[in-house]
Amino acid sequence: MALPFFENLHQQGLISPGSMEKIRLFYAHPRKSVRTEIQGILYIGVLLISTGIGVLVYKHIEQLGHITIVMAILAATLACYGYCYFKRPAFSRGLTTSPSPLFDYILLLGSLLVLILVGYLQSQFQLFGSRWGLASFIPMCILFTTAYFFDHRGVLALAITNLAAWLGITVNRASSWGLSELNNTTTILTASGLGLLLILISFLVKLKNFKAHFDSTYHQFGSHIFFISNIAALIHFIDWWPLWLAVLAGAIYYHLKKAFRDTSFYYAVIAILYGYAGISYLLIEKVLLKTTVNIDTAYSILFYLLLSGISVARLLIFINRQLKENDSILQA
């Protein structure tokens, strides 16, 4: 145990008597936290249930009948929502404390069941007729309301994914996780717009101080969607690539600025890596492969990748160092 170590630090004046008392109390009755492990169990449980029910409804339509399935899912959904409603914390514009760890997982399960229920009703009963957009829009509204009402970031992520689906940006295996859909103008422009919109919302929630802690969820989705659609645009818009390059440069600048402002390693890394991917594509496609393609071109590309890889890695290390300097100033 580390008690003697802390005693030593206490003698050196690095730990106050109050903290030392806490440490002694901790070692007198040592209690190990198993929070992560139990959360893992709950998460696996929710995943198993939602996956199981999802498969169940498709495989057993004939035996169970539509009404039975709908009623069963509806009952389970209502049970989850009912539990969360009665256990919910008082509504606040800020961050609320979850009443219990189980609450978060039950709410997540209820939200997943909503998606299964609406999907089932639309596929079997054409609840929204041929207006498939509504089948995404309605659950999206429910999920956004749920996320805000119960203050749940996991459900917010589901809602944002649903928003993307509603706008026609689907990610599934049939379209190679959505990448093959990024080869038409509408999808690229929609995705770029969605990325920008989500980044804008992240500012708004902070500005209006309405669930300000949701800003990171909005921003992360927004950044990835925007960068991916931007690189897709560089590839797709043959004549307009300079414009998209300028947009990419702007996005890199903005994200690096944000990284320094918030001392965020995450935004620094995505700005650098997405930027590197986009610029490398342009250099290889528009410059190196524009000349006569021969063995020298291959060497040029490989040397470019080698030297640029080293340079970008050095840049990343430099940014890391700079961010730490900022961090030390903030914490001082």
């Binding site: 145990m1 580390a2 003697p4 170590f5 802390f6 030593n8 630090l9 050196q12 690095l14 730990i15 106050s16 903290s19 806490k22 440490i23 901790f26 040592p30 209690r31 190990k32 936290s33 198993v34 929070r35 492990e37 139990i38 169990i41 709950l42 696996i44 449980g45 929710v46 198993l48 249930i49 996956t51 199981g52 029910i53 498969v55 169940l56 495989k59 219990s100 760890p101 189980l102 997982y105 039950i106 001392t263 390693f265 995450y266 890394v269 590197y276 040397f303 080698l306 890889g309 080293i310 890695a313 990343l316 290390i317 890391n320 961010l323 730490k324 961090d327 030390s328 903030l330 914490q331």
Partner: protein
């Protein structure tokens, strides 16, 4: 043997315990900062995102340089390119560790595993015409490479690679054996892994094994789980054979049933009991994995429901178990709790580094340089400090 500075490794261990204490609100943030300032680390051990980024860029560089070599040699001698890449990776790895003080920076991770992979592919190509001996030589080489990597670079993935190579070796030994020897690989594997688990258990608290302690704990647990899995396969096979012979109705005879269920349930229960007694996070997590495997084994060999119903049933069971565990922990009479924090270090473990530092009054002063900075390292809020 260890590539890293022992002094710096000790400091990292100390820092992780201090950060653990801070995450559990035992000490204040200011106190934590002051202690971390007293024990700075010179390792370049960046935040996980930077680590991923550097790892990806290292992969780009290695692929480019290998392709350049390949083109220079007209891709005629693939094995030479692989060997050169492997040697280059190991050379660079040593350079980054010794000169640049990299420790889990992403660059060293990728260099290590690319180097080992290239070396193993090279050995595989060299021995491809040797029939069965190829697999045996390859698996033995993999065991040696991964073991040395784990010992020298304290790399957990390399340790897992070494155990996987042992499994590969056990199966290679009995490749093309007659059907009556079908279970021999499992016996071999179970025997080897059991021996490894016992040795790791004995060695982990040895004074000389301070720096490998985390690896030895992982080795002990993984080897024990691997041995259990191998013996489980043997048990199930034996039970199924016995069952087929004696009972055509596909119901277990009583003796076989007792053997099957006691093996399936008792051993994971023993694992979790041992882990809870030892209060080691890693052991607890791996024993939970063993418990989850009970569901899988039960459903795989004696399914009561269809897959989807089993998923719902076991999911509900897990939620119930989680709920009961939380309720129990809230009663405050357990040695376990549900409080935040406690994932950063090993506050309750045996910390030989800290005992030494504490008793000896080793309050190492930070070097008088001004470049000691905190923030964003891979160890949470305060980070590795130093010149990076």
């Amino acid at each position: 043997m260890i590539a890293y500075s022992r002094h710096e490794l000790t400091r990292l261990e100390i820092r992780s315990v201090v950060q653990d204490a801070s995450s559990q609100d035992l000490i204040t943030r200011e106190e934590s900062m002051a202690i971390l300032m007293k024990y700075p680390s010179r390792f370049y051990s960046p935040n996980i995102y930077i680590r991923i980024g550097l790892g990806l860029l290292t992969m780009v560089c290695i692929s480019s340089i290998s392709s350049i070599f390949g083109m220079l040699l007209d891709f005629r001698n693939a094995e030479i390119i692989l060997l050169l890449t492997a040697l280059g990776c190991f050379g660079l790895l040593e350079y980054f560790i010794q000169s640049k003080q990299h420790y889990r920076s992403g660059i060293d991770d990728v260099l290590l595993h690319t180097g080992i992979s290239c070396l193993l592919i090279f050995i595989g190509i060299q021995t491809e015409n040797h029939g069965r001996a190829n697999s045996i030589i390859l698996s033995l080489s993999a065991i040696i490479c991964y073991t040395l990597a784990a010992l020298r670079y304290l790399d957990r993935l390399a340790l897992i690679g070494a155990l996987a190579s042992i499994a590969f070796f056990s199966f290679s030994m009995w490749e093309n054996s007659p059907p009556e020897m079908a279970l021999y690989p499992c016996w071999t594997l179970a025997l080897i892994l059991s021996a490894i688990a016992v040795i790791a258990h004995q060695q982990k608290d040895r004074k000389g094994a301070n720096f490998h302690r985390h690896l030895l704990i992982l080795l002990e647990n993984l080897a024990a789980l691997g041995a259990y899995a191998s013996l489980h396969i043997i048990t199930i096979d034996t039970v199924l054979t016995e069952n087929t012979r004696t009972n055509s109705a596909n119901a277990l005879n009583p003796v076989a049933a007792i053997l099957y269920w006691s093996w399936t349930l008792a051993i994971p229960a023993l694992f979790i009991w041992y882990a809870l007694r030892k209060r080691e996070s890693l052991s607890i997590r791996l024993s939970l994995l063993a418990i989850l495997s009970v569901f899988y084994a039960q459903h795989q060999f004696y399914p009561l429901f269809e897959h989807e119903l089993a998923a719902v049933f076991y999911g509900l069971l897990l939620l119930l178990a989680g709920w009961m565990a939380i309720r129990y922990l809230k009663q405050d009479n357990s040695v376990y709790s549900f409080r935040h924090g406690g994932d950063e270090g090993d506050l309750l473990g045996q910390n030989p580094f800290l005992v030494v530092a504490g008793f000896a009054g080793v309050g190492q002063e930070a070097p008088a340089t001004t470049d000691t900075r905190f923030g964003g390292g891979s160890f949470g809020g305060a980070g590795a400090g130093s010149e990076f």
